[in-house]
């Protein structure tokens, strides 16, 4: 048998790999997708929120049959101390639209659906097949992969690494470093089963409307991180995550953090009577712009979490993953149509496409933020001050309002001093700009 060769091999069947394989297959390229899990989604963990825009650009009619949970009509942002939260909520009827913007999803189901679409588009998918190494030719160009199954290597013009944050193929091949612990968060989450009606009554929802809560404060015990609570149809996803380096320094356990988050007096009633369905943990690349590795070379590209494409500030990841997967596919298809070889010089147009997209623009905007967030005052002192201020303001106790104002201002200066306050504000402002 003549040696078989694919136009592209995509390593991984998460959002970035699926987006890439789908885009390649719909353009008529011969694609092989390799997934180590038993089925696509079996290894994949996310909160999870789906931002419609990136998927819509690939599968225009996804709303017709994708397994979506609830469309989000209300966002709650909470600053929490041990006994309180001080929140900003935004709810709008505008989010009850024909083509909603954000959905909660359950990844195991969603990824299976997405993968079916990829296979229908014509890609060949092998599950339970782990890529163990990249094959290079004498000049160092990547020409294929070897898997953990018996048999010959498989060859392709281009190998796309969509292997996720903890994938080892790229690291083994020296294409990217294993991300250092201060650029990766470890998040744990639980799925809590509750009857549909209970969720709707508890969160003031009707039909498929959904609420998300994002929380920060003393819940992370001084570490850099956030907690979340998302409503699904018949379950609630609740989780919390912090930088791995912080967990290591402080000797905290992720499950301990989640237990105390769940026991918080503002969270506990939301989960009352629920039954835990599953428990999962996952790493999230949060190094931002500065942590992005080299993304292309002779015969290879990196997409998704493997390339650190997560916007930690806005809790966006899967949409960046899908977009990078699509742009990689467009690059490969474009070269193929021009009969241009997939050399590093030619594949550099992938980087140019990324720079031109929201992906790089957004990550660049926040490039200094990860460093700025390594400030325990943001997660401990300020939430406490905020809570104290709110309480001083709302408690009616015979004290006049002017004195209350003075007390609040004084508490800020006493705790953090003028220099510290200005430094924090300037630091955040600079990083945000």
């Amino acid at each position: 048998m003549a040696q078989e060769k694919f136009d592209a091999i995509v390593v991984g069947a998460g959002p970035s790999g699926n987006a890439c394989a789908f885009s390649l297959a719909t353009r008529g390229l011969k694609v092989l997708q390799l997934e180590r899990g038993e089925y696509p989604g079996s290894k994949n963990v996310q909160g999870a929120i789906l931002y419609a825009d990136a998927l819509e650009g690939l599968v225009g009619d996804f709303r017709e049959d994708a397994p979506l949970e609830r469309h989000i009509i209300e966002q709650r942002i909470w600053m929490m101390d041990d006994r309180s939260f001080c929140g900003a909520h935004y709810r709008s009827e505008d989010f009850n639209e024909d083509r909603p913007n954000r959905y909660t999803i359950i990844r195991a189901q969603f990824d299976k659906w997405f993968s079916r679409r990829v296979v229908q588009a014509g890609a060949l998918l092998l599950c339970e097949t782990t890529v163990v190494e990249l094959i290079r030719d004498a000049d160092g160009k990547v020409i294929g992969v070897r898997t953990d199954r018996d048999g010959d290597p498989i060859y392709a013009d281009v190998v796309v690494l969509a292997e996720g944050v903890s994938g080892l193929v790229g690291a083994r091949a020296g294409l990217r470093a294993v991300p250092p612990p201060d650029t990766v968060a470890l998040a744990v989450k639980e799925m809590h089963f509750l009857p549909r009606e209970t969720i709707e009554a508890r969160f003031n929802l009707q039909g498929d409307e959904g609420v998300v809560i994002e929380a920060a404060g003393t819940i992370t015990k001084g570490m850099t991180g956030t907690g979340f609570l998302y409503t699904n149809k018949e379950s609630i996803s609740i989780g919390i995550g912090c930088l791995i380096s912080d967990f290591a320094d402080q000797g905290q356990t992720p499950y301990g953090l989640l237990e105390s988050f769940k026991a918080h007096p503002s969270i506990k009633p939301l989960l009352a009577g629920s039954e835990v369905k599953e428990y999962a943990a996952h790493m999230i690349p949060e190094g931002g712009y500065k942590a992005i590795p080299q993304l292309f070379g002779d015969g290879w590209l990196i997409v998704g979490d493997a390339g650190q494409f997560v916007n930690a500030v806005h809790r966006e990841g899967s949409n960046l993953a899908m977009t990078t997967g699509r742009l990689a596919a467009e690059t490969i298809a474009d070269l193929k149509s021009r009969h241009a070889p997939p050399t590093a010089a030619n594949l550099a147009s992938y980087k140019a496409r990324l720079d031109d997209s929201f992906v790089m623009k957004d990550l660049k905007k926040y490039k200094n933020l990860p460093g700025t967030l390594h400030n325990k005052h943001l997660f401990t002192t300020y939430p406490q001050l905020l809570s104290k201020a709110a309480q001083t303001w709302f408690r009616v106790d015979g004290l006049d309002k002017k004195s209350k104002e003075n007390a609040i201002v004084k508490s800020f200066f006493q705790t953090r001093r003028l220099k510290g306050l200005i430094g924090d504000v300037l630091g955040m402002a600079r990083a945000w700009r």
Binding site: Y39, Q109, L126, T129, T147, R149, D150, G151, I154, F193
Partner: protein, 284 residues
């Protein structure tokens, strides 16, 4: 040689949960797997094929989504997969299932030759009846070897097979003529990991899909719910027992040490019983 292997896609029973409020089985989101017992049969069939040549055809009856189970069988190295799917089959018990499967196997015979061997799993993990294999054998008028723990020898020339069959109180060594139907016991082998060539071929092979008519089934009253005399009267969750087992620390190893410790522990937990026992002892 032609071997047919019957498999079933089943919910992973390790992951089924009972709804805390309604007490019904929550099937939603439960992953499906190939009935684990069937994999022992599939591996045995693949080994015979590898040794003696021929083809392995895997068949199933189920919903369209059962194609994923067949696809997986192909990546293990099966040569062909056929899915029998039709809404008329919904609600089949073992009688209706064996009826449909017997037609499916007849149709497979017409297309790719009569099988020399048919393999089934001993039973399924969702129904646990162990009736479908014998039912198919009866309907196809085949000899059957159930609860097989080992294939001792296989002679294609003489068309004979000798197997170990687990029976109450021992192992029977049975020899029979081909064709026959075999159900394999669990733990008799380990399913192989297909090579990359098997996996690629499996991903590419088209799964042949037939409906009832295409399988030559004309009497639909014998299919699905209508053809199933078994009636599910009630589904209920057993009440969780609240008794707990506990360990008792015993000093010393003699029988009397152990019985003394046991009686003391019972007395501690059952003061009324202890009092009555002591009363009884004193009255002697």
């Amino acid at each position: 040689m032609h071997i047919v292997v019957c498999v079933k896609q089943v919910p992973d029973s390790a992951q089924i949960r009972v709804h805390p409020v309604t007490n019904t089985i929550m099937r939603q989101g439960v992953p499906t797997i190939i009935n684990p017992y069937d994999l022992f049969s599939l591996e045995e069939a693949l080994r015979l094929r590898d040794r003696h040549g021929g083809e392995v055809t895997v068949v199933t009856m189920g919903p369209p989504m059962a194609d994923t189970a067949l696809r997986k069988c192909l990546t293990f190295g099966a040569d062909r997969a056929v899915l029998l799917t039709d809404r008329f089959f919904a609600g089949s018990d073992t009688l209706a299932t064996s009826y449909a499967l017997s037609f499916l196997i007849k149709k497979v015979s017409e297309n790719w030759g009569a099988p020399d061997l048919i393999f089934c799993g001993k039973q399924t993990i969702d129904g646990d009846t162990a009736q479908v294999g014998p039912g198919v054998a009866k309907r196809l008028n085949l000899l059957q070897l159930t609860y097989v723990s080992k294939i001792e020898s296989f002679d294609m020339e003489a068309r004979e097979i000798t197997v170990d069959r687990r029976a109450e109180g021992g192992i029977q060594v049975l020899k029979t003529k081909l064709p026959c139907l075999i159900t394999m016991l669990e733990g008799t082998n380990d399913i192989r990991r297909g090579s990359i060539e098997d996996a690629l071929r499996g991903a590419r092979t088209e799964i042949i899909t037939w409906n009832a008519a295409q399988a030559g089934i004309t009497d639909l009253t014998l299919c699905g719910l209508r053809g199933s005399p078994t009636i599910v009267k009630k589904v209920f969750a057993p009440k969780p027992r609240d008794e707990k087992a506990f360990q008792i620390e015993v000093e010393g190893k003699s029988m009397s040490d152990i019985s003394d410790a046991l009686i003391a522990e019972i007395g501690k937990r059952q003061p009324v019983l202890e009092r009555d026992m002591l009363k009884g002892a004193m009255s002697y």
